[in-house]
Every structure is written in C-alpha cells, then in structure tokens.
C-alpha cells in the first residue's frame, strides 16, 4: 500500500470490515498487481487476479486490497 490511504474511519465507515468497497482507477500494472488511484489522488496497490485483465484507465471495485469487479465504463449521454 502506498500513500496515506485510510485504514479505518470511524465516522465514514470502515472500508474493509463492512460490506463496503471503493471504486478506483488503474494507473499502472506492477507485477501481478495494479497501482490504483481514488478520486482524492490516494494510491494503493491492488491484487487483480480475480477480475478480467485490466489496463491503465480501467475502473475496478476494490475491497481489502483486492479487486472484486472490473466496472463498465461510464457513458455520458448528450
């Protein structure tokens, strides 16, 4: 894990303990893992074995350091 990614925030909810996951964006692949970034600019190394192959720019749903799903791209209409 890199940066100052929060381990547990009492008021905002613990992202690991509950059924809570966060959406992150893949920045680069490092070995078997992917360096991912959240919208606040915080980065973490994420295991991506459980999802289809990811490339930089892909969005993934991450829980406890592991990607659970590769998310479909957001399509902005209009």
């Amino acid at each position: 894990m890199t940066g100052d990614f929060p381990a547990c925030e009492a008021r905002d909810g613990c992202i690991t303990c509950g059924d809570v996951a966060v959406e992150l964006t893949v920045v680069e692949l490092i070995g078997d893992d992917a360096l991912c970034i959240d919208e606040g600019g915080r980065t973490e190394l994420v295991a991506v074995e459980l999802v289809a192959a990811v490339t930089p720019g892909d969005r993934v749903l991450v829980h406890a350091g592991v990607a659970l799903e590769r998310l479909r791209p957001i399509v902005v209409e209009g």
């Binding site: 059924d19 406890a64 799903e69």
Partner: protein, 373 residues
C-alpha cells in the same frame, strides 16, 4: 465532476420519495430489512428514513461482520496473540470489540502484538518481513471479504511462506437471511439486498426468498438515491403483488456474480457444520474454515485455541437489534452505559453497526422536520 454527486441529488430524492409514498396502501405498515451494515450506515448518515413515509420502516439486519462475532471468538484471538512470537493482525474495527477477556486494544496494553491491517495481503507482507515471528490474520467478513483472505492464502502457499496462518471467522449471508426468515418474532415484507456481497455471489442465491417466502429482494447500491430507488422498486413489487429478485445496483453487480472469485472461495474454504452468530445463535453451514488443501494455514489447527463459548453481557440487547426486533435506541443501555467510546455490545463498535451508526448520526434526524409525503 465527482461521480457520487449524481447519487445524492436532493431533487431526485424528493421525486423518488413522492413516487414511493404514492405506492403505499392506506393503513398498511411496511417493514423492509436492509441486510447490509453498509446500508445501515448510509441510511443514518444521509437521513434516508426521513425521505420515506412513516408507514415504511427500515429494519436493520445482521450484515455487519464485526457485530455478529461472538465474544468467545474475540477471546480466542487474544489467546492466539498471547502465544510466543505471535503477531496477530486484524481489520481496524475488530480492535475495540469487547470479549470476555477485554478487547484487542486492551490485550496490546498487556503486552500483546496485535496490529491493524487494511488487507490480509498486508498481514502476509508482515510475515515476510518477520521470518522469526508467527503472523496470524484474524479473518472476518462476508463474501465481500473472504476472496481477499483466500487470495492471500493462495499466495502464501505459492510463495512457500510458512510463518503465516489465518484464524477464520468468515461467514456467509444466505444462512443468516434464512435464520431471520425463520425467526417467529419478526414480520418482514421485503429485503434490500447487500450490494457488494452480491458482486461476488450474484443475485441467484436470493431466489428462495422470493420463491419460497414470497418476499421481494432488490440488490441495492450504497448511495442515498440507490437506497431510495431500491425501496421504490420494492414498493412497486408489493403494490403489484409480485415477489422477485431484482438488481438496482447493475452498474456494479453482475447477475451471476464473479465466477473467478467463487472458484477461489470453493478451493480455499470449506463450510463449517455450524457457527455461532452473535444474537442469532448457532447457524448450520453459515461460516467458512480453510479447506484440507490449505490446512497448514489454519490457525485453529496449528495453535491451541480455547474455543470457549462466552455469554453476552446481560444488559446487552445486540441480538434483538441484529434481528431487527429492537431499534438501537430501544436498547436499555444505548447511549448511556454503551457508547462508541465504551461499547458493551458489538453493534456499538463498528461504524456499520446499527447502534454506532444511529449514535453518530441519529441525532441529526431528530432535528429534521419529517417530510410531508
């Protein structure tokens, strides 16, 4: 643009609230259980209940993994940490959960080495960095979290790491829902399904709720509008006399779940014959242990663990809160003897626990004027 803003739009919330109210039948009271602790947190934090008519009651379910840990398993963790050379690692919320012999924080004050980690992969890294110590990961969580533990155990085996093991407390959501449906003291109309558990297991395992029990379930996302839209979908079903499984959280949850994660879970874990849940009692085939193939990583086999059942404090009514029979503020010790700083029951520990969520955010709800819908 922050993608979450669209899911917190007050005008859309008001529009959904009006549509939900229009579906209510006069004189009927609706009880909808949100299974997941993450939903409970959102409901209190954003005052979702305030947008619903008084005839719709959201009942908080057992889906906070910390809250369903029985005291005896906390004591087992401390007993592991007290053994020579052990570093016990766990998620943050576990640190303050009271057992019969104090909490992990209090055990640290007595000289134990219990460390908070963000991921079980961090626990494995600690094992790599401390080859002369024995590192145990205290695993908790539903199907959302179990894949990360499974993946970690697979990596430990592949890399030949021998000073790492798992004290497994992973539980599965379906048996808990079955136990609630079989509970005689609770009448529910429908369920808001757990969003991220469903990312892994998909929507099909909930079929029995609709088919056998005749109750709708909608897999719901975690933003306020997700919950309002899911409630709207439930109310539409109830109005039409339908009982189906629907997926509101389609942007994240695939109908069939994650087949790779399910295969990893099946490979690394096996179902326990039974497991004790706080408040719900012993539920058959409701929890996971490491499979025979990975038994060398099972802390219950490699260490002496007391495994003693410890009764909950008499004043604590977490069981009733977990089943949705009591609302948090109806517990005798809520907010007085039991607070987030000095919790008696587990529901007051985790931010996903109904009591802690209400304690932190519930007072704001009292300041709001209930919407005339």
């Amino acid at each position: 643009m922050r993608f979450v803003d669209e899911f917190r739009d007050p005008e859309l919330a008001q529009m959904l609230a009006t549509q939900i109210a229009a579906l209510c039948e006069p004189g009927r009271h609706y009880k909808i259980m949100e299974v997941c602790g993450g939903h409970t947190h959102t409901i209190y934090r954003y005052g979702v209940q305030d947008h619903l008519p008084e005839s719709i009651e959201l009942v908080h379910g057992p889906g906070c993994p910390v809250c369903v840990i029985p005291m005896g398993r906390v004591d087992d963790g401390i007993a592991l940490a007290e053994q020579d050379g052990v570093i016990l690692t766990c998620f943050g919320d576990m640190m303050r959960v009271p057992g019969g012999n104090g909490s992990f924080i209090e055990a640290n004050a007595r000289g134990c080495d219990i460390r908070m980690v963000y991921s079980p992969l961090d626990a494995l890294r600690i094992a790599r960095e401390n080859p002369d110590r024995r590192v145990v990961f205290y695993a908790i969580g539903f199907e959302t979290t179990a894949p990360s533990t499974a993946l970690t155990v697979m990596r430990a085996k592949a890399d030949g790491i021998t000073n790492f093991s798992v004290f497994c407390n992973h539980v599965t959501i379906i048996p808990a829902i079955k136990a609630i449906l079989d509970s005689p003291d609770l009448r529910l109309d429908a369920f808001l399904g757990p969003g991220h558990v469903s990312t892994v297991i998909g929507c099909r395992p909930y079929d029995f709720i609709a088919r056998e029990h005749g109750k709708p379930l909608v897999c719901a996302g975690f933003e306020p509008l997700d919950l309002l839209q899911s409630t709207y979908m439930i109310m539409k079903q109830l109005k039409a006399g339908r009982a189906e499984v629907e997926n509101q959280y389609g942007r994240v949850v695939p109908w069939d779940g994650n087949p790779v994660a399910l295969k990893v879970l099946a490979d690394v874990f096996t179902l326990r014959p039974y497991f004790e849940w706080r408040g719900l009692g012993s539920i058959p085939q409701s929890a996971l242990a490491l499979s025979e193939r990975y038994s060398e990583y099972d802390a219950e086999l490699t260490f002496q663990v007391p495994g003693v059942r410890v009764a909950d404090p008499k004043a604590c009514q977490c069981g009733e809160v977990l089943k949705g029979v009591l609302r948090p503020w109806e517990c005798k010790v809520f907010g007085t003897a039991c607070t987030p700083e000095t919790p008696i029951g587990t529901c007051m520990v985790s931010s996903e626990g109904a009591c802690a969520a209400y304690y932190n955010y519930g007072q704001y709800a009292k300041q709001r004027i209930h919407l005339e819908v």
